[in-house]
Symmetry: C2
Subunit: 444 residues, 2 copies
């Protein structure tokens, strides 16, 4: 592997007991993993030993409490920023990406917490910027329903503008801390944001010095037209669900093609599709492993997961052995997923219960079930044929699924020269190959 060879990035998508909806019921899985810090510490250390670029945490600011929720492991888990801050203290190199919604937060707090995490971790923080489309979240924040799609994105765009502006409150060398003269900072290197917009009035400055990465890495996952535009303008990593190489290539070239109009190079944004991975010594052994989880899926639980993925469309009144009903074309950010699932149900002629079980593992993400070589072949094809810059790895169960990826798949990728064998950088930006941004206010 030569120094200049392009290598792929890997994120470890961690979710309580694992990505498979029935993982918590498996005998190898600690069912209380969602609130066990020692478990997360082990996971972080496994991923770091395997040189992953980052840990990635999804989030929701609401606990499901419909009757069926009592049969799913989704109602109790750590808040991602507190968890990642704790993990920062017990890791050295791996990036730390947390999801925080722009819909029910204040940009000053968000800018500050990620800047603080970036300092705590020596430059390893990433913010997955999302908008909230779940009614359950709205109800926890003084609203009777969530904002519409357009308004959510307008707010998100302005939110990003404020947060990134606050991150540039201080030039990198603003804090001189000169004991002799008594000058702590250079006032010429302080920039008060004084933002006045449609959604926010924020004066600043931030009460955190500019952070090691300049700005924490901004991650996004929106796939709608509006979401792609926001990503092209502001994102540095995009996490996406693509179910074939052809679709992944379309998405990749579409999104990269949008960067130019914002004055950004194609390299300034990395595209990382989610891949659900189950490994075995043989394909049949891998499949058998997967079936152990599938056998634990109750039909109503599968359908509840489906309902959630369809933007909380209530499916409880429909017969389990009947077809997926016609769905309203909502303005929801889940619309692209609705289309994907409707297509899948039609193509494979699946009943509601079958469709629920079909997505119980990968949740709409591309599934790779096979030997390390087989899985590596697929990842390599996507990576080399214009479908991906890297992958966000989803595993059925934790810690076992991650251990499999770390010990079986990563060495295979390393043998092929596709993945690092040790960290060459210190910061998440360095791992991802993203430039450190200059302070927009600094004179040259």
């Amino acid at each position: 592997m030569t120094a200049s060879k392009r290598t792929l990035s890997l994120g470890a998508f961690l979710m309580a007991t694992g990505h498979h909806i029935a993982a918590w019921r498996h005998p190898d899985v600690p069912a209380d993993g969602g609130l066990d810090f020692q478990q997360y510490k082990r996971l972080a250390q496994i991923a770091e030993a395997a040189c992953f670029d980052a840990l990635f945490f999804a989030d929701s600011a609401a606990a499901p409490d419909a009757p069926i929720a009592s049969r799913m492991a989704r109602s109790d888990h750590f808040e991602p920023l507190t968890l990642l801050s704790a993990l920062a203290a017990v890791t050295e190199r791996i990036g730390l990406i947390a999801t925080v919604t722009t819909s029910y937060n204040e940009p000053f707090h968000v800018a500050r917490k990620f800047a603080s995490l970036d300092h705590l971790s020596g430059g390893r923080a990433g913010w997955n910027l999302v908008t909230s489309d779940a009614a359950a979240e709205a109800l926890n924040f003084n609203r009777s329903e969530h904002l519409g799609h357009a308004e959510r994105y307008a707010r998100a765009r302005e939110f990003h503008e404020v947060v990134s502006g606050l991150w540039d409150s201080w030039e990198d060398d603003a804090f001189v801390r000169d004991k002799a003269s008594g000058q702590y900072y250079d006032p010429a290197k302080l920039h008060v944001l004084d933002h006045h917009g449609d959604h926010f009035q924020v004066r600043g400055p931030l009460n955190v010095a500019r952070s090691p990465q300049g700005r924490p890495v901004v991650v996004q996952a929106g796939s709608s037209e509006t979401g792609r535009e926001l990503a092209a303008q502001t994102a540095e990593v995009v996490f996406t669900a693509q179910t074939s190489l052809a679709a992944a290539r379309d998405f990749y070239s579409d999104l990269k093609g949008r960067l130019g109009k914002y004055g950004r190079s194609a390299d300034a944004l990395k595209i990382m599709p989610g891949v659900f991975i189950v490994l075995g010594d043989s394909q049949s052994q891998a499949q058998e492993k997967f079936e152990q989880f599938q056998a634990l899926v109750e039909p109503a639980v599968g359908v509840a997961l489906l309902s959630r993925m369809l933007g909380n469309f209530d499916l409880s009144g429909y017969p389990l052995d009947g077809p997926l009903p016609d769905l309203p074309l909502t303005d929801s950010g889940q619309r692209s997923r609705q289309l994907l699932l409707t297509e899948l149900a039609g193509k494979e002629n699946l009943s509601l219960a079958q469709l629920g079980r079909r997505i119980a593992g990968g949740r709409g993400h591309y599934s790779l079930i096979g030997t390390p070589a087989q899985v590596a072949d697929e990842l390599q094809a996507w990576f080399e044929q214009g479908g991906a810059d890297g992958f966000n790895v989803l595993v059925p169960h934790l810690p076992g699924g991650l251990e499999d990826v770390a010990t079986l798949l990563v060495p295979e990728l390393q043998r092929r020269g596709l993945f690092r064998t040790e960290y060459s950088g210190r910061t998440l930006r360095e791992h991802l190959g993203l430039a450190r941004p200059a302070n927009r206010f600094a004179s040259i």
Copy 2:
């Protein structure tokens, strides 16, 4: 020391480079301590080795940026919840108390983050509930001025009601996680808050299981009439500034006397005055140490600190060698501090510059400068004569000042049987002698 003997509690109030306004200029002090995680890790470990009950972090959601602020070490520091989460991972026993304002936050986020920290730390989280009276904070949160005193407190009271209700969303044994039957939680042990109030509409439930302490410890620091009533109703620890034993006893008996009408025993709330401590082998050596810091105080910096303590009353137009001007009796929460400082200036006949320097160390807290035995005598008197249940210890500089307290004062208190020699409990509640609250919704 018998098992039943009442012992005192100690909190370590940590602030970047130390409590003395000029600490950062001292040769022994790392001037960049406010954003150095390794420094905080050392501090936490020093305090834990000395068996302190808790670390305590003040907070403000704004960076001062007036010209004089460039000569003070106040504009760059960690956000407390991210910092304490990281410290949770590198400590075992010590409590972790962070200040978070009720004025510019959402109760769902606050409930969730502290519950998350409580799980992360095995039951060591504490929330210092404050209201914001700084205009600079308002300007970072879409407001042109901060809320009035009465409205702030009404919001704070309701905020507490929502947060503590969310902490009781789940009964302690709600999560059964029964792999065989597929039941993850018992729906009968889930309680949806469904709060509808003047300031907040919050449905719940919280997406975190009930935490190890049942509820994180609630700390407050208000001294006004309204603040005392809120504390009597809701606080479990009160941090206060008292400048004589007589005043401390008045405050102590007043506050403890208010608990009964809320159905609370006097033991349910611990009162911990702040004490600024400088230690030496002799009184003159301690005084000399203190003078090293005093000599580094620029007059305008002292006056700026004074201005801040007076509720940001602008003193920059007044002559440094003139008297403290008459202050408007504002509705500010700083009012009790205004009275205290006006009294002090009058009694000692101090000019503005002299008053600024006078408070540059303890910032209005009781100052004890002397040998370990002398300081212990004072603490013992306050503790035994009805002035305090413990102390929040402020030191001029970090890490040196904390090391002095840990190695010189704590052993003296231990010799007298006034302080633990090892932790007997695991949680902050256990350290403080506070009962674990029952879930309000649980049937018996």
